[in-house]
């Protein structure tokens, strides 16, 4: 079920009503939310409900085994089995086709033609996200950060809770499970915050991301040779904005829907396109995935000791490379990940070199900069950092968006030819791309502050704001509902 649809609106009103009617009874409330989550997932393809249940069962059993294992060795074995089983499910659905294709190619090149057991594997929506949540549950128990759940209902609901099920945010068990066993409360500001986030998410997705996709990015990436350099430059900036609006729009709706049901999710995007360094950009982009990669992949690569020097650089690079590969078994994703890894390492090296040189050259007689000079230096450094981070991100996005490397090289060739007419980069397109970037420079807690300020807004006011927003989006947005980009991952 897609969020920006009438089906979801009906579904949500029913779930909202039923779950709050049961607010005094924790267990039936959880059962209703679990049933709703399975209905939400099964609405897309009911056959994959078994997979969701299997993933939850594996992690539930792993949690019990970890609690019952007494020796460190036994716990280690259990966590390895748990993580491997989770990854096996993910790997099978995600990489089976790629490995079989590659194996067929290798055998053909060796003159060995074989009929391999080819299966048309459909990638279950959200498989990465619920697998990551399962892994974090098992590993956190192993690391003694949480205790295993007593009731399987809690774990099944944690893995499948519909707002975050198919595209995140990746909710940590330590954050979500305690909320399941607290009294359900709906505060004044949570209602306003929930509606504001849902409106914001719908606008980002159905208006900004959708227009950018259909009017600029899709045609340009489909046939880059047919468009001029300005359109290609515009499309690569626009794609960075499209991915942001598409993905953060989904997160906004998810966080807003959860807030209306009485659950808090952490912020998942914090104005990443205004970041003044690549490190900060990744700290603000899909925060729940970045921190997941840091805690479960980077920490696993690093080991128990803190990293420094080349070891740290190597692990940062590998984390980004594997992050790229997670998006799909294609060279475009591998290069995208590697590019970010290299640039993150370079940024760290250059910054550390600059500080070392500055320190070495400093003498006690140095006169500090005047306030005007210091301010100018600050402004220059801020915008230079922003330009660097934004351009690395948007240029790398060309690899991310292109179907193959041939398209990438054609795209860059045409982009740097500085020729051709402006066709698709209209004033409207410039306005929404520039506007989407500009609003990222607003303070980060706009929604929280607005919700606090208008927390006592009456039912009619809230209803009118919701209705007018929906009407404007419906009247001005493109026709149809485009699937969210991250559903495919």
């Amino acid at each position: 079920m897609l969020f920006p649809t009438f089906d979801f609106a009906i579904f949500f009103v029913i779930v909202f009503t039923a779950s709050w009617l049961l607010r005094e009874r924790a267990q039936p409330r959880k059962v209703i939310l679990l049933a709703a989550s399975y209905f939400f997932y099964g609405y897309w393809d009911y056959r994959f409900l078994a997979l969701l249940a299997l993933s939850s069962t594996i992690n539930y059993i792993a949690g019990i085994c970890l609690a019952r294992s007494e020796s460190k060795q036994a716990k280690k074995r259990v966590v390895i089995v748990g993580v491997v089983l989770n990854l096996a499910i993910l790997g099978f659905f995600k990489y089976y086709g790629f490995f079989l294709d590659s194996l067929t190619d290798i055998l053909l090149s060796l003159g060995l033609e074989r009929d391999l057991p080819f299966l048309e594997i459909i990638l279950p929506i959200g498989i990465s996200f619920f697998t990551f949540q399962g892994i974090s549950y098992v590993v956190d128990i192993y690391r003694r950060q949480i205790k295993p759940v007593e009731s399987p209902l809690d774990l099944f609901l944690y893995i499948s809770f519909f707002p975050q099920l198919v595209a995140g945010p990746i909710v940590r068990a330590s954050h979500f499970l305690p909320q399941l066993n607290q009294r359900s409360v709906l505060t004044n500001s949570a209602v306003v915050f929930g509606f504001l986030l849902i409106i914001s998410g719908l606008f980002k997705k159905t208006f900004v991301a959708h227009y950018i996709a259909v009017d600029l990015v899709d045609p340009v990436f489909f046939d880059p040779e047919s468009y001029g350099s300005v359109d290609l430059w515009g499309a690569h900036y626009a794609y960075a904005v499209q991915v942001y609006c598409d993905f953060s729009g989904y997160s906004d709706i998810a966080i807003g829907a959860a807030a209306l049901l009485g659950y808090q999710f952490k912020k998942n995007f914090d104005r990443p396109l205004a970041a003044t360094s690549l490190v900060v950009l990744w700290q603000r982009w899909h925060i729940s995935l970045s921190t997941w990669l840091r805690d479960y992949l980077y920490r696993a690569l690093r080991g128990p000791k803190r990293d420094s020097g080349w070891r740290m650089h190597k692990n940062v690079f590998l984390t980004m490379l594997l992050g790229g590969l997670w998006h799909g078994a294609a060279w475009t994703f591998v290069i995208w990940g590697a590019l970010h890894g290299v640039m993150l390492v370079l940024e760290r090296i250059v910054k550390s070199y600059y500080h070392d040189v500055k320190k070495a050259r400093a003498t006690p007689d140095d006169v500090p900069d005047s306030p005007a000079v210091a301010r100018t230096k600050g402004i220059v450094s801020y915008w230079a950092g922003w330009l660097f981070a934004f351009h690395v991100f948007s240029l790398a996005a060309v690899f991310f968006r292109s179907p193959d490397l041939t398209t990438v090289w054609t795209y860059f060739g045409q982009m740097f030819a500085f020729a051709g007419e402006v066709e698709l980069m209209t004033p409207f397109m410039l306005l929404i791309v520039a506007g989407a970037v500009a609003v990222q420079f607003l303070p980060g807690n706009v929604f929280e502050r607005t919700a606090e300020r208008f927390q006592n807004a009456g039912m009619v006011t809230l209803g009118a704001v919701l209705a007018i927003s929906l009407l404007l989006m419906e009247a001005t947005g493109p026709e149809g509902v485009a699937p969210f980009i991250y559903f495919q991952f």
Partner: protein, 103 residues
């Protein structure tokens, strides 16, 4: 009753009162949230009735969806006769004239 017992009783009563207030706030916010959603549905049914016909027509064909299509069509005609469908059309027209601006 000694002082300790009195303090403990007062704390329990205060916690009870806070809980009752929290419950009342939650109940009021549930009504507020649900009411807001229903107002939005009514508002859209009046001003964007065309959206309902599109939705109904996209449903898989069966007796219920046939009935829904017919009901949505009738409702849309009613709103059209009342001049309410023109609001969304006018907004779209103004927006498209801005959107189609060229350099």
């Amino acid at each position: 009753m000694n002082q300790k017992q009195t303090e403990s009783l007062e704390e329990t009563e205060a916690a009870e009162a806070a809980r009752r207030e929290e419950d009342a706030t939650t109940a009021s916010n549930i009504r507020r949230g649900l009411g807001a959603m229903l107002i939005a549905v009514v508002f859209l049914a009046l001003l964007n009735s065309n959206g309902f016909t599109t939705y109904a027509r996209d449903l898989p064909g069966n007796a219920f969806s046939d009935w829904l299509v017919s009901a949505a069509d009738q409702w849309n005609e009613l709103m059209d006769a009342a001049g309410l469908t023109s609001v969304a059309d006018d907004i779209r027209e103004v927006f498209l004239s801005l959107k189609d601006t060229e350099w």
